[in-house]
Amino acid sequence: MRLDLLLQIPTWEQLRNGPWVEAAAAIAIVGFVLANLIAVYAGISTLLERKIAGHMQSRVGPYQVGPHGSLQWLADALKLLFKEDVIPRDTDKLLFRMAPYVVFAGSFAAWCALPFMVDWAPAFMNIGILYILAISGTAVVGILMAGWSSGSKWSLFGAMRSAAQIVSYEVPIGLVLLGMLLMYGTLDMNAIAKAQTQGLPFALNPEWRGPWYLAWASWGVFRHMPFTVIAFLVYYTAALAETNRTPFDIPEAESELVAGYHTEYSGMRFSFFFLSEYANMFVVSAIATTFFLGGPLSPLGPVMSGGLFDVFWFLGKAFLLVFVMIWLRWTLPRYRVDQLMDLCWKRLTPLGFICLFAIGLGEHDMRVSVALGAVTFVFIAVVLSKEIFASGKTHPPLPKVKPEAGGGP
């Protein structure tokens, strides 16, 4: 891996102030740009989340600061900055102070390998996706650190739940991404995105470059049809759990655990957990975008592509997925812990294995891909139609509860 991010800013070479000054300046600039990018993104996302939630519940959301409340996020950030930083007495001070930064660093460092443009990422990495998965997985340790050092049982339970959940859901994520990697044959995020400029579904013709209005047909999600779509859904579900979002927000369940592993945190330290949650949401959405939805590629082929259009498409697709996450939060109820583990190990992991196996077969021979796809489509159609036609009639009758005399609230 090369730290190209640091090595490829050419203009500072011309300053000739001696390499030390330039080195310090480069570090400052890179840190400043990335930190601000992520802070602004997270701030705007919190505002959007509140606005969307408001409109979904027939409210207006924040409305006071700025036109339509559009500057609320700045006010929130200022409030968090100036809030008193409370450190409870029964904490391990050192670990308590460090934990937010460990969590934040984990989700923050993943950003530099995302392919924001075709052939451009902040850091060109041969092992792109592996790096992102590895580095964002370190947030678990920070979460355990926060939960344990808080010296509060709510924090500890939240942290243990969160760690168990994240570690478990890495398995289906790894499996479906492995299946997609069989198609691309590289770990480099830029190469993965570029591999989706050509090719037909079912691997019929890997060299195909269609008319501009069919360019989206080459995206990874259409490659081996039912299986890649299933892989996408499995990935997205597991990613929701990975980022502790509803319906899998068991670690932060307000009604059970106050606020999970960051119960004891306040002020700026709390906001670091907040930033890292939103940064993580973007990272998992960006991975889904790159693997399944063509990354920075325009859905219209050469039309509206190149330069800032790439950034537009990449951010647009990723934000669409982030929006769906927010949408789901205000739509679905929370899972129980046992249901969560059941879903991971008994549903998503076998589905991941099936996808891996089927995509492998399909890449081996396109006829197998077509045949498997057809059979699976018929199977899914039969199952779905049965479900749909049966659903009206066979609701199990509600159990009759006899009210006991004088008992019960």
Partner: protein, 288 residues
């Protein structure tokens, strides 16, 4: 020395200090959970060393498996085997000067060996005789980008950065001024360049060609004196002189699926056994 290198070095030494501090904390910390989190810094520093050695795949595997897997396991084990609500969990250690002395001696001996032994960094240079008039003996060697680590014949040139060196121990007198080596590189990118010889005191003359950013693939190189057609280094024509690579992943993949296939399968069986064994040991006794 460019500013990029300064940044890399500062980062390297920061990680080195963090790694040693973390290892010491694991060894002597009074609090077992702090020991576990100190292990985090050691694992991260080790990963960063891999990155500095440009072993990118190992870097990712280290973080993915050690930090995301083993460390989380260890922390879970600590929390399952202690009264977790107590923040100040003690970590008794039978501190003894004997153990300290033994470890100090081990470290001292290791560092002594490392400092005094001359590690073989460089392949024995290949010798070619260039058929000019009169014939000139040339010694050819390949180095990684740092200029001190050699590349084996047919070996990997990491990230496509490297240095090709042509030594001429006995350049004829009339050729000593203005002589140049003509180096030709064939592969995914073809390069033909005249590199002037520079005097190296009693060791003759040397020409150095720095390569950077070669596209990945297999390369051959050949050399002659300037003004003549380059010829193959050795009479028996090798398939490959060096392989430019971007990252280690591909090489590791080939090694695991080729020469190391049997160990790879054995490890997979062992992992399955460990999975079943751990599940068996840690399960709750079901009362019949």
């Amino acid at each position: 020395m460019s500013w990029g290198e300064i940044v890399l070095n500062v980062v390297f030494y920061a990680f080195a200090v963090a790694g040693i501090a973390g290892a010491l904390a694991v060894a002597v910390s009074k609090n077992i959970v702090r020991s576990a989190f100190a292990l985090l810094t050691v694992l991260f520093s080790a990963a960063s060393f891999y990155a500095f050695m440009r072993a990118d795949f190992i870097f990712a595997a280290q973080i993915l498996i050690y930090v995301g897997g083993i460390l989380v396991l260890i922390i879970f084990a600590i929390m399952l085997t202690h009264r977790i609500t107590n923040v100040r969990l003690s970590n008794e250690s039978a501190h003894s000067w004997g153990a300290f002395f033994a470890c100090f001696c081990v470290a001292f001996a290791l560092i002594l060996i490392v400092a005094t032994y001359r590690w073989s960094r460089v392949e024995k240079p290949m010798v070619a005789v260039v058929a000019s008039q009169p014939p000139v003996r040339l010694a050819l060697a390949m180095y990684q980008a740092d200029g001190t680590t050699g590349v084996t014949r047919g070996g990997r040139m990491i990230d496509g950065h490297g240095v090709l060196v042509v030594d001429a121990p006995d350049l004829p007198g009339r050729m000593r001024t203005g002589a140049a080596a003509r180096i030709r590189i064939e592969g995914p990118q073809t390069i033909l360049r005249d590199v002037p010889f520079e005097p190296r005191g009693p060791e003759g003359h040397r020409a150095r060609l720095e390569l950077s950013g070669l596209p990945a693939g297999k390369y051959r190189w050949s050399v002659a004196l300037a003004g003549e057609e380059p010829e193959a280094i050795t009479p028996e024509v090798p398939a490959v002189d060096f392989v430019a690579e971007r990252g280690l992943t591909k090489a590791i993949g080939w090694a695991l699926m080729g020469r190391y296939l049997l160990p790879f399968e054995a490890v997979s069986v062992l992992l399955l056994a460990a999975l079943i064994g751990a599940a068996f040991l840690a399960r709750k006794e079901v009362k019949a």
